[in-house]
Subunit: 676 residues, 3 copies
Amino acid sequence: MNFITKAPVMLRGGDYNPDQWLDRPDILEADIRMMKKAGMNSVTLGVFAWAAYEPREGEYNFTWLREIMDRLYDQGIYTELATPTGAKPNWLARKYPEVLRVQSNGVRDHQGMRHNHCLTSPIYRQKVEELLNHLIDAVGDHPGLILWHISNELGGECYCPLCQERFRSWLKEKYHTIDALNHAWWTSFWSHHYDSFDEVEPPFDNGEQSLNGLKLDWRRFTTWNMMDYVHSETAILRKRTPNVPITTNLMEYFPGLDYHKLQRELDFVCWDSYPHWGRPDRSTTVTAGMTAFDHALIRGCKPDKPFLLMESTPSLVNWHEYNKLKRPGVNRMSAIQTVACGADGVQYFQWRKGRGGSEQFHGAVVDHDGRDDTRVFNEVTATNEALAALTPVCGSLPKADAAMIFDWDNRWALDDAWGMQIKQKNLRETCCQLYAQLNHCGVETDVVGVDADLNRYKLVVLPMLFMTKPGFAQKIREYVENGGIVVATYLLGYVDESTLCWLGGFPGDGLREVFGVTASELDTLYPGEGNRAIWVKSSQQSSIKDYCELLQPAEGTEVVAVYGQDFYSGHAAVTHHVFGKGHAYYIGARLDDAGNAAVLRAALADAKVHLRDLPQGVEYHCRESENARYHFYINTTQSAVKVQVESGADLLSGKNVLGSMELKPYDACAIEEKVK
Amino acid sequence: MNFITKAPVMLRGGDYNPDQWLDRPDILEADIRMMKKAGMNSVTLGVFAWAAYEPREGEYNFTWLREIMDRLYDQGIYTELATPTGAKPNWLARKYPEVLRVQSNGVRDHQGMRHNHCLTSPIYRQKVEELLNHLIDAVGDHPGLILWHISNELGGECYCPLCQERFRSWLKEKYHTIDALNHAWWTSFWSHHYDSFDEVEPPFDNGEQSLNGLKLDWRRFTTWNMMDYVHSETAILRKRTPNVPITTNLMEYFPGLDYHKLQRELDFVCWDSYPHWGRPDRSTTVTAGMTAFDHALIRGCKPDKPFLLMESTPSLVNWHEYNKLKRPGVNRMSAIQTVACGADGVQYFQWRKGRGGSEQFHGAVVDHDGRDDTRVFNEVTATNEALAALTPVCGSLPKADAAMIFDWDNRWALDDAWGMQIKQKNLRETCCQLYAQLNHCGVETDVVGVDADLNRYKLVVLPMLFMTKPGFAQKIREYVENGGIVVATYLLGYVDESTLCWLGGFPGDGLREVFGVTASELDTLYPGEGNRAIWVKSSQQSSIKDYCELLQPAEGTEVVAVYGQDFYSGHAAVTHHVFGKGHAYYIGARLDDAGNAAVLRAALADAKVHLRDLPQGVEYHCRESENARYHFYINTTQSAVKVQVESGADLLSGKNVLGSMELKPYDACAIEEKVK
Amino acid sequence: MNFITKAPVMLRGGDYNPDQWLDRPDILEADIRMMKKAGMNSVTLGVFAWAAYEPREGEYNFTWLREIMDRLYDQGIYTELATPTGAKPNWLARKYPEVLRVQSNGVRDHQGMRHNHCLTSPIYRQKVEELLNHLIDAVGDHPGLILWHISNELGGECYCPLCQERFRSWLKEKYHTIDALNHAWWTSFWSHHYDSFDEVEPPFDNGEQSLNGLKLDWRRFTTWNMMDYVHSETAILRKRTPNVPITTNLMEYFPGLDYHKLQRELDFVCWDSYPHWGRPDRSTTVTAGMTAFDHALIRGCKPDKPFLLMESTPSLVNWHEYNKLKRPGVNRMSAIQTVACGADGVQYFQWRKGRGGSEQFHGAVVDHDGRDDTRVFNEVTATNEALAALTPVCGSLPKADAAMIFDWDNRWALDDAWGMQIKQKNLRETCCQLYAQLNHCGVETDVVGVDADLNRYKLVVLPMLFMTKPGFAQKIREYVENGGIVVATYLLGYVDESTLCWLGGFPGDGLREVFGVTASELDTLYPGEGNRAIWVKSSQQSSIKDYCELLQPAEGTEVVAVYGQDFYSGHAAVTHHVFGKGHAYYIGARLDDAGNAAVLRAALADAKVHLRDLPQGVEYHCRESENARYHFYINTTQSAVKVQVESGADLLSGKNVLGSMELKPYDACAIEEKVK
């Protein structure tokens, strides 16, 4: 076993805000007692505590923090310590208005809310530096400190003059000449040629919205500037507490930052997972599948390290449109799934509900009633027992046969593209649907960026990879040439890294040769419209919606399925091309699940990936260490199911299992297979 | 008979804007002739007449007004005179920009529209004072003047620097110390601790939205500042015309002001009622029931005085999304209902349609055709005949056995709460649904604030009383202890007057003991989802939507109904608890009408309230004076119905009735029962 | 044959942006070769080329333009040259911020997008003047230059101080006295009397929105100011290149400008047509019918000249919510329809897709693949062959028996009216539905403004003519008196040219006598609600939705149809009145297609208009010159149909036809009937 922090445990904790209760020592005392009862071994302290640390400029107070950390540590509870920069205090905003963010409408925010500071402001950074140094002075040496947690759920943009100037400098460094920028942004369109970098402004709502290249570079700059800001924090922490690892909590499918870049500042990644478990239009199985994709997406930001689930709710959130309770057993099931997907800890937001503020009705382990015998408290306790039993998997990693490529630049380029379905291209849905089909076959899949080493995988899936960045097409070409299997969908290779369309036909940048197919037109259907794919060999039929590419197969390309109606009836909808030693599948239309499954199963057969015959609703994951494989079977349904499993010890039940077992509703097993 | 003004009549009039027709003496002459024909005895003059009174700063002209009042009075038509401060003239805005309002986005309005002045501006108040004094000089002594009408449909907020500063002063006065404010607003949340009152800003759209306490206090301050402004008008009026009563027109379920407070500046209340009579998704009966609730809500602001219906439309409005005609008979029926609910007058907006402006297509008694023989004119005439016949009820008051508690602070706290169904908690719907069930039993119900004397009532209903303010829980406790009957719904007693959650379990502040139940969790359902309540004794089933609280009944609490499905199937949904000499019912879920009726009928039985067996669609109300009771039976349907009534003279038909009568479609009777 | 330009051809071309490809001479060369192959004979150059012409202030470069024009002309391809003022260069915005537009929220735009300059700015106009003079110096004498194209898709408003001041001057010139303005705007409403013109502001979003007269005059001013701006361009062009005609591209049912006025600056009109061909809720026949209305609306702006289709797409657009491909054959069919409706040319946006910018996925003749053998390229080639074959029709004009009145002021007054269905009055739908019924009878209909000479027509239709401007009612009266036939719908004659309601009853201004009917009330129905019209003579029934006017027929007026339900059941819904020698039909409710058809067929019979018995889905149009009539039959369906036609030469197939022929799916014929 290896551990992601110096604490030799599967982390089981949650956000803890004793600074809201400093006038209630009885509550602070009860907290620790109840944490022990619930099986917690970690807390996240100090998120949003700036005003508690520094109520007036330069007046610091960390006494209460040290005391709390002492008392927690005495009871075996570790501290993950946030830098309190998720929200700035009122005095800072009042004295130095430059720290207030300017929104995309050009208006500077008033003080309030959170995520509310300018990313560039030198004064802000200076004040943070002073604060962090005092914080480290106060508790940097505390034996209970196992992790730094930078700020909180980083995000947002700032359009202030300082950020604008920084954007221009960043562009200068990127493009060197204004001509290069003009070409990349295709500014000959609508006469938006820039004569110098000084003319460039960010894409204000009431400004330049017609240049996709500008919009994309602004997003890239925002990630860069956020990383630069984060670095201003991590540099201090790494220098003064070199042995304490650093992370920050990422968010589900967050649009604002390129996490593949942001992770570079972190020692391992963590995230906050709040699935819509109770939505009536999705089964728990489907929601679990989407969550598995999300885990893989975050895990893929730092694939050689287990991750941590920093936040989840034991019951409900307070910001969904309808805030439904997690059903009994779902919390434990989803926690086990989290570990199965590569986490070495599952934590909650939050330990105890605050009396006021906009999150007063967000679920917590301890409710306003202050009791330790509630349904929710008991669910958490049971979950922590399961997590404790899973401690042996710490340090092991999921071993994936397949990879799915996900790229933030591609996502942004798709989001901003004028065309197709304007409002929602549904990249996430396409990813999740393909992911779920791999999942149903028991195939572990990594979700990785375009820089990933593909040779680790037998199969690579490219969902809606609209943008092909330099070198990526060549990498795919070599991967297939050398025997790799790829499955790509519609919208592959339309634009380059600047969002300029590839000339000569789609998919561009050499991918037409690999896939043996050209997508000559894209037909976007209205909601309610559809088409059918008819499998040439099996006559299987799948329904199609949203997108139909008109494909021109090259000679030698196998037409796997054809359209069943409309003017392109009988023409290729899915193709298969042998290229070098490998195979390249191309899906030209948004197929239904059975259609996606048919293509993936063919590709998996080519890739010689072992499939599992899983009962409906049972999810499989596997983590591997040097000495063992951990096979997780998770029943995401409300019915008991019988499942074929490896023989070995089930960490969860503590029993030895011989090849099959019954899983109760929302129950799971984790079979340890020793590897010599 | 007593009258709310010195005019010894049931008021029958409307808004009248002769200032739009000063160049058309023929029309002014026709107006008075036609008013007489229609049976009008009052007009509201001078709403929005500032520019007509004072076209340039300091140049006044009231000659036309005095003339009009003279001619009206000559013909027996009384004048209700508005202060013309509902909209300021252009010259005022141009010369003194400080009078222009600043909206919640921080942007100062341009001149235009109405409700458009800063509530604080000293210059505005000074100009109003000058104007009012001149107005009183001109007509304050007029014998036809029976009522002052302050401004018009008061509302809106101002975020200008003057109002901000006033808000800070108001907070200082309220909290004394910044620590008290910090605690009340729970500013330890997200680091929003204030170090001094100077740091506080109003809740700008792009500012502090995370502190519920701030948002609530801003709403309270806005009511306070509006009252302070209104007082600056009423002080002048009361001093100079002490015998003329003062009112202002309130609005249906208006969110912007706490009418329970605002009424203190008024001698009696009035309001403007514009129900959606023709909506295809609601029967006329349902709309009438909602309107009865609205009448009761306004009446409850000043329960010891009859109210006045200041505005209604004889035909249609122009601001509903679909502006449908009132069907024949509905106008008369709704006017009678208004009186039955406690009004001593029913007036229209407006007498004659204006040729231009945004209200040119709003219904009026006289249309653009200028005729006095239209369908609408005839409906108004018939309605006025009915109103005249009801003159004997003037001064009598509805006598209610039941009370429903409604509190603006509670409403605001619910509206702003993050959680449950975020976008709409549907407090009004809950109130109306419960009100309608009481109505169907023939039980008159007052809708009153938390300061009301509950001992007047046999039954008290607490719909979604999320906030319990100081003393209220204790009052309920004593009320029940002494034999009172209460029915409360889900979301009772979650927060205190600062929106801080009660600790120790919901309902808080001691109400758990009264109701013998704890609401440990709240499950919010998605639209289309539901549950069932199964009555323990009768096996009656009701459908449930939106909200299901998980209830923990105390020992000795009767489980009246249980949930029929989901993981809390079989657990309590409705409870009944004997406390002291009284009974406390708790409804944990949003029941259908039959479910609400079942609970209320049980409670009414406990309360020994006399129920009436009313035919479907017949609404009953009763007004009492020293000498008589007036029993109103109103047929809200398009079919004739036979109804059991008291024996006595029917004021409307002029006939004596002996225990039963037939009511034609949309017809009503008003049986006078003499009390010696 | 006459031609709209000096080029003796049916124009077949498209927008061409070589300035995006100046670094790719290979592409520029291929372009001309492929244009020839596709059958193009014209291009539109220089739209948005300002920065290419003048990359820095005062530095001009037209060399590339002259070269391109030379090479095109060498190959027989004419140049339509845009003035490049559709988007300003960055340097202009940066140096002279006054050229940036201010939006209706009062905020000045940042540089970006297009349509982005202040309409008033003297500096902008000066810079345009300098640029145009240099442009004319460079290419004004070019033999290939056949047309000036002013800017591009003119539109938008500016609320800057310069425009405000200009608005006040314009008002002074219009009203002379502030009293006249006060009366026209009915400013006695809500106290908005103006004491001087200096007090007037435009209708800012957060300003004066309650005066319909102000809003309407602001729209009129914006048209006037845009025309004034356009004139500043055309004055230069007309002076320096007097033989080159001038146009600009109008847009489908554009709300922003009164095209009946704007056309005065143009020699002929053209427009950009982008129908939603593939919408699943509309058949191709319905979409074609709506497009025919659009053609007629634009054609009617300049009825004595053929028009030009400046832009269309050969495949799809990129800005519909769902961007669906035009089905095979639809492009050719719609191009032939365009000519049938009076166009002497059909052009595309655009020739070749640009690599970047927000229109990179808008359809073009040449795709990113650069091929000249694609499906789309072939469709364009086939279309151009058809257009070439139709060259003989050039200069001829549609000859309409019927006219439909459309007036921008009326449209704006309706759009802004508070009342009826607030959000959408559906004027366009009413027009299109009536137009389609005339179309189905084979009756060519002009859509013309209120200034049109009605005596040219046997039938005049007045859909929702809410506003009757001075003289129009009298014109209708005389028209009918002298034997004309009119059909009007609900909402006729409610307001005058200032949006003041007509007094004395609707329809006002003397129209009650003509139609023999008064509309005493308007009942607006909710969606899903309806009524029925029952024909008195035939008992035919039609469904009704949205609007029901309560009609009072005068003595002698025939009740054609009555309402079938609700309180006005049995009362008139459709009337017919003989007035003088003519007939006046009034439709009081929104009838279904069959109902509209019944009224129109009766009116057409009175008007003795020849009807055609067309198969379902076949559209008929006729153009006439001195020597010939051209009868177009267009099959808008996907099935072959047999159709009775005139005998003569079919220009499209080149065959002689004898009285009937079969039209393949989406095919058409154009029979030339010689007139001696």
